[in-house]
Symmetry: C2
Subunit: 409 residues, 2 copies
């Protein structure tokens, strides 16, 4: 089945909004076994919408459309669809009832300006919207099935899952599957070298690289006839990149780390300078993190390092705040103050100011104390302030992951 | 001038990557006075690319293309462009020299697999890429000017600004301008009610709403002939929403707050529970924040609240960790420990666990101490863990903004 997506909205073509709907729909369709052949975006302009509907109906069996179903004058999708279908707009009793009951439930009554949302092309089939006023609708134009939905992401996502995917998935014979391996601490080029000869050129398994800074994702795709080969290829690749692969599919670094902490029973304290709370914010993103995360110290000033973490002021004077000595003292101090099993610290120069020949911007020390020893390392991260902070944060999380993983062995 | 954009890549049509390039290019073109009429995405498939180039050349004067210029077998854009132009691929001496010198500078030598990137359609004009191996090129197909660039965002963005925009902007007669007003703490519906009668229906100034959670952006657009009216409309809208408008155009909440801190000379300490370091991470995102930000305490456990912030354990027992009493004690304690002018604290239930009838998930207390008094307020934020933490963080930043703003008056 050949399928297309169409996004409608001025704000997409003036760059004010990034079209996350197109990627979401494509991803969900892929997982349901259907691949999108092309995506088109047009403005809130009746002629442009009419032209797009006509074009896409010619080359595809189904089209998923989002946007332009609101209640303001620039919402023209319904009108354009009726024109292409050669039918009138009619008041849909079903849509009207939904508008009334939804408005009563949420805002205490129907606003007159929402009434236009009950006008739908004659003969269309409603797509229910449990989370908003705008109903979607299904309509066949020139033999191609169109699914119209509002552009509000959370409304559209629900309607897609409830109605559109169940309708389309049955038709996607066979279908596609994918496995995503998530890597950290290795460049795309190094991955490619490590995977040399792993997948023959004629393998039915496609391999794609996808850099989501600072992560590198490897995506393996195949149609369901080759499911076994897909799993086998993923296992072989994971074997070649075992140290760098931290997760698979929907797993995030935060999730993986949380599971390791829960399993280990260890507790954690943090002492952050250049990351300014980013590591603590990542750790606490996971519900239930209070079971292992005790406290974080954001010690931006030297006084704070000394008072909160008992770092001797002489040590800071002798080596500088950005030094392996101070990083170690921060970790040891944080661990003792919190009474935690583990403590991790970072101190560095995120820039753009503060660098020197000896310690340029990007110089970062990470240390971890566990009561037995204190591991410390110096890094030189490239990029701007945001990149240095991001790399520092992710590297610190990966230290914790590797430490807890080693405990299991 | 009618202009289109074209993105090429399998990963865009399988949902693995969100197409941020399309929005970036559209935004930069708009700011240069040119509006994009349509956007198209096709897969790494030679026939699909050829069809897309032919289609777009028919209805447009210029097309900006990204993707498919890499060195792997699935990069087919150059081949497709040559086919449509009816020319051969030739080794470009200029591209070859760039490949050599770029590779020498970054990786110590040219990799043979990159050689394919020197093969370009005969007669094209190079678009230099200072940040990567893949040169772009310009080519006229059926009277339409095509600009081909790689899909790597930072390479493309630089090439767009250096070469494509200067070429196209001269042709965008008149052109478009916009003003973005950034609001917080007010719903889209409430904004609409407040702006009733502000812009007449036939005004040449377009008004668009754009929710970027937790911010609401108001975008005013007009062509340059109405620049004065655009500014006047923005001023009137800002007047009606003065308390809620925190910034304009590129200004972020972080920037605005940093400027206010620098101007005020005040110093800050933080005590975070449910946000777990997010507020400190936002504050320290801005370079130079060490001038006013002294330290942050991420006091996740009750012991940490007592030890780091001197919150009496009896107070926590009597009122619970999520209470106005504990929030105030955290702020006062953080201020005294750090010796800062101001201290802000948050304590709340981000969920999904930990809620009760009396204190459901989303219950958050924010407090701010300045040595004279301690302001404290209770909120009930809707949504999931991520939403509650995000709203808490942004609300706290807005408290600081309003406090520092009031000092100026």
């Amino acid at each position: 089945m050949k399928i297309a997506t169409l996004s409608i909205g001025d704000e997409l073509l003036t760059g004010e909004i990034v079209d996350t709907n197109a990627a979401h729909i494509a991803g969900r369709l892929y997982d349901a076994g259907v691949r999108v052949a092309r995506h088109l975006t047009v403005a809130d302009d009746e002629e442009a919408i009419v032209a797009a509907l006509r074009e896409l109906s010619a080359g595809h069996q189904a089209v998923v459309v989002t946007g332009g179903l609101g209640s303001t004058p620039d919402d023209l999708t319904t009108k354009a669809a009726a024109r292409v279908a050669g039918v009138q707009l009619e008041v849909s009793a079903e849509a009207l009832e939904h508008l009334g009951s939804f408005s009563n439930r949420t805002t205490g009554g129907l606003h007159p300006k929402n009434l236009s949302q009950a006008l739908l092309p004659a003969g269309c089939t409603l797509i229910p919207n449990p989370l908003g006023t705008a109903c979607g609708f299904q309509l066949t134009l020139d033999g191609c099935r169109f699914f119209f939905m509002p552009g509000v992401p959370f409304e559209m996502e629900r309607m897609l899952d409830d109605t559109v995917l169940p309708t389309l998935a049955g038709e996607g014979k066979g279908g596609w599957r994918r496995i995503t391996l998530k890597l950290f601490g290795i460049s795309e080029a190094a991955v490619a070298a490590r995977l040399e000869g792993c997948l023959p050129a004629d393998s039915p398994v496609e391999l794609a690289y996808c850099v989501k800074f600072p992560e590198v994702h490897l995506i393996l795709r195949a149609d369901v006839r080759h499911l076994e080969l897909l799993e086998k290829s993923a296992a072989e690749i994971r074997g070649r990149l075992s140290a760098e692969t931290f997760g698979r599919d929907d797993e995030t670094m935060d999730d993986v780390l949380a599971a390791l902490f829960r399993k280990s029973g260890k507790t954690l304290a943090l002492a952050e300078s250049c990351t300014g709370g980013m590591i603590a914010a990542r750790i606490t993103r996971v519900a239930g993190s209070s079971a292992y995360f005790l406290e974080g110290n954001v010690t931006y000033s030297n006084q704070a390092k000394s008072r909160m973490l008992s770092v001797p002021p002489e040590l800071i004077i002798a080596h500088g705040a950005v030094s392996s000595e101070v990083a170690c003292a921060m970790a040891t101090g944080a661990r003792q103050a919190a009474g935690s099993d583990l403590a991790l610290s970072v101190t560095g120069i995120a820039g753009p100011e503060g660098g020197s020949d000896e310690k340029p911007v990007g110089t970062v020390h990470i240390a971890m104390a566990d009561g037995v020893s204190c591991r410390v390392e110096r890094y030189n991260f490239p990029g701007d302030r945001e990149a240095v902070r991001g790399m520092t944060c992710f590297t610190a999380l990966d230290w914790l992951r590797c430490y807890l993983l080693a405990l299991q062995k």
